[in-house]
């Protein structure tokens, strides 16, 4: 019977390990004001958007937006803890309270609005195609039919192409790697002919290799990037929307785009309008 007690203790320990997190109720505005601290989810491997630098800091447009919004909510840069939020983890992290907000190339969709809420958009982009600079055969999404394409596992962009062209195309022409950074060597060495995902992510990578790649420039979907926060946090949404509008108005938005995307900043000519709900 002592054995049975041992098992019970083990089970209790196991559940304790997994369930130890707290999903605090309450608006992000209050948390920012009272604690002067925020945990913000970002990408850390997307050049131009969210990248962990060797000096320990983070750089990118999403990081700039996060810092600006936090400042407007009353949290200094020193009070921000950045946490990596991989694509598949963005909703769970917000729902479980592991992060207070997510600024990680996060597209606003109705599906996601069922679980969390969005402030913004702070940028509008679309799924686009990155090709080698000397490749003239790919001009729009239809020309991908006979081409090899690389995507990232867990991203919705390859799924969109697979839905469009069918499962046989998916098996023969689509390869899904771990992250878009792994697709770049494949494109460069002609293993694949194109990488397709949001123009923003493509621009971020391509900006690091001036002259090697080019964006086709004909987005075939619309992606609105927003700031994800808890469901039912209306005051949070309003506060963040106000902060974003201020960022558009005082020129910080434009400066950040140009600084992070270089020559590809031209694809983002003007800021979008914030959607309040």
């Amino acid at each position: 019977m002592r054995f049975g007690a041992c098992l019970l203790a083990l089970a209790a320990m196991a559940t304790g390990l997994t369930a130890c997190g707290n999903s605090a109720a309450g608006s992000i505005v209050d948390k920012a004001k009272n604690d002067k601290k925020l945990v913000i989810g970002i990408k850390i491997d997307q050049p131009g958007w969210g990248l962990k630098k060797p000096d320990g800091g983070y750089a990118g447009m999403d990081v700039d937006v996060a810092k600006y919004v936090a400042k407007e909510l009353g949290v200094p840069e020193s009070g921000i803890t950045f946490k990596e939020a991989q694509s598949a983890n963005r909703e769970p992290f917000i729902q479980q309270g592991q992060v207070d907000m997510v600024v990680a190339t996060y597209s606003i969709t109705d599906e996601r609005k069922k679980k969390i809420s969005f402030a913004g958009p702070y940028l509008v982009t679309g799924q686009d195609i990155l090709v080698r600079a000397d490749d003239t055969t790919i001009t729009d999404v239809e020309s991908l039919k006979d081409k090899k394409v690389c995507g990232a596992q867990g991203s919705s962009s390859p799924k969109r192409l697979a839905d469009k062209f069918g499962t046989e195309w998916e098996s023969k022409n689509l390869t899904q790697q771990q992250g878009y950074g792994a697709c770049l060597p494949l494109l460069e060495n002609k293993q694949v002919d194109a990488i397709s995902t949001d123009a923003t992510i493509l621009a971020g990578f391509a900006a690091q290799f001036p002259g090697k790649f080019k964006l086709v420039g004909k987005p075939f979907s619309t992606e609105k990037y927003g700031v994800g926060i808890k469901m039912d946090d209306k005051s949070g949404r309003d506060a963040i929307n106000t902060a974003i509008e201020k960022m558009f108005k005082d020129g910080t938005w434009r400066k950040s785009i140009d600084a992070n995307l270089g020559e590809f900043g031209k694809f983002f000519s003007s800021p979008p309008s914030v959607e309040r709900y």
Binding site: K148, Q153, S171, K172, N173, L174, T175, Q176, Q177, Q178, A182, P185, L186, E188, N189, Q191, V192
Partner: protein
């Protein structure tokens, strides 16, 4: 439960790919593993050294890293390409290379310990009737060594069958990746889907374990 029934063709297809990966990698690694073992016991220090280096590198590197390197390094840097037309075929063979290279290191070690179980007298007798090193190996030592290690070889094969799931890292549509996609598609039927795939692997590995156990008993060298 309906999700499992509905997706049964996809599940079977995924397991068929798993089996293909396992069988082809198994055959290649068996041959290459025996060659490596022969290298490691050969009279030439060059071969012994090369074999030792190979085995130590491959056994101490995670398989995930090897497969990622094969998927990205072999293709892009070494221009290894198996099919210019079909990416899934290309990835299949790249992961087969990675799996074979990795498993061969373990086959080598198993065969080598098998060689050590062959009594000294056998090799001495072989030498005394004038057989060369290669002949000794081929006619006297290896047949006995392999028969002695059939059970551990079965273990290696089972491990290989489970290791095929690591090919998911470069997007090969085998069982683990398909299961993950099904989790995404059918968010409410996670447990039946998992049990379905788990059952598949039990069906693959359990008979092999039993078969090799039986074979080991039957083919054990009577001493």
């Amino acid at each position: 439960m309906e999700a499992v029934v509905e997706e049964l063709p996809v599940i079977l297809q995924a397991f068929w790919l798993t089996v293909k990966l396992a069988v082809i990698s198994g055959l290649i690694s068996l041959v290459w593993g025996v060659v490596l073992a022969a290298m490691r016991v050969s009279p030439l220090p060059v071969l012994r050294g090369a074999g030792t280096v190979y085995v130590n590198i491959l056994r101490n590197t995670p398989l995930t890293l090897i497969i990622v390197f094969c998927g990205l390094g072999l293709g892009t840097v070494m221009n290894v390409q198996f099919s210019s037309d079909d990416l899934s075929v290309n990835n299949f063979w790249l992961s087969t290379i990675g799996l074979s290279a990795y498993t061969a290191a373990f086959v080598c070690e198993v065969v080598r310990s098998g060689v050590n179980t062959v009594p000294l007298g056998q090799a001495e007798a072989a030498r005394s009737i004038g057989l060369t090193f290669l002949q000794t190996l081929r006619l006297v030592i290896l047949p006995q060594a392999v028969r002695a290690v059939i059970a551990p070889l079965g273990t290696v094969l089972n491990a290989l069958i489970k290791n095929t799931t690591v090919a998911a890292a470069i997007g090969v549509a085998e069982a683990a990746l398909r299961m993950k996609n099904m989790f995404d598609a059918h968010g409410d039927a996670i447990i039946p889907i998992f049990l379905g795939f788990a059952a598949g692997f039990v069906i693959l590995t359990l008979p092999i374990g039993l078969l090799f156990g039986r074979l080991a008993q039957r083919m054990a060298v009577a001493r």
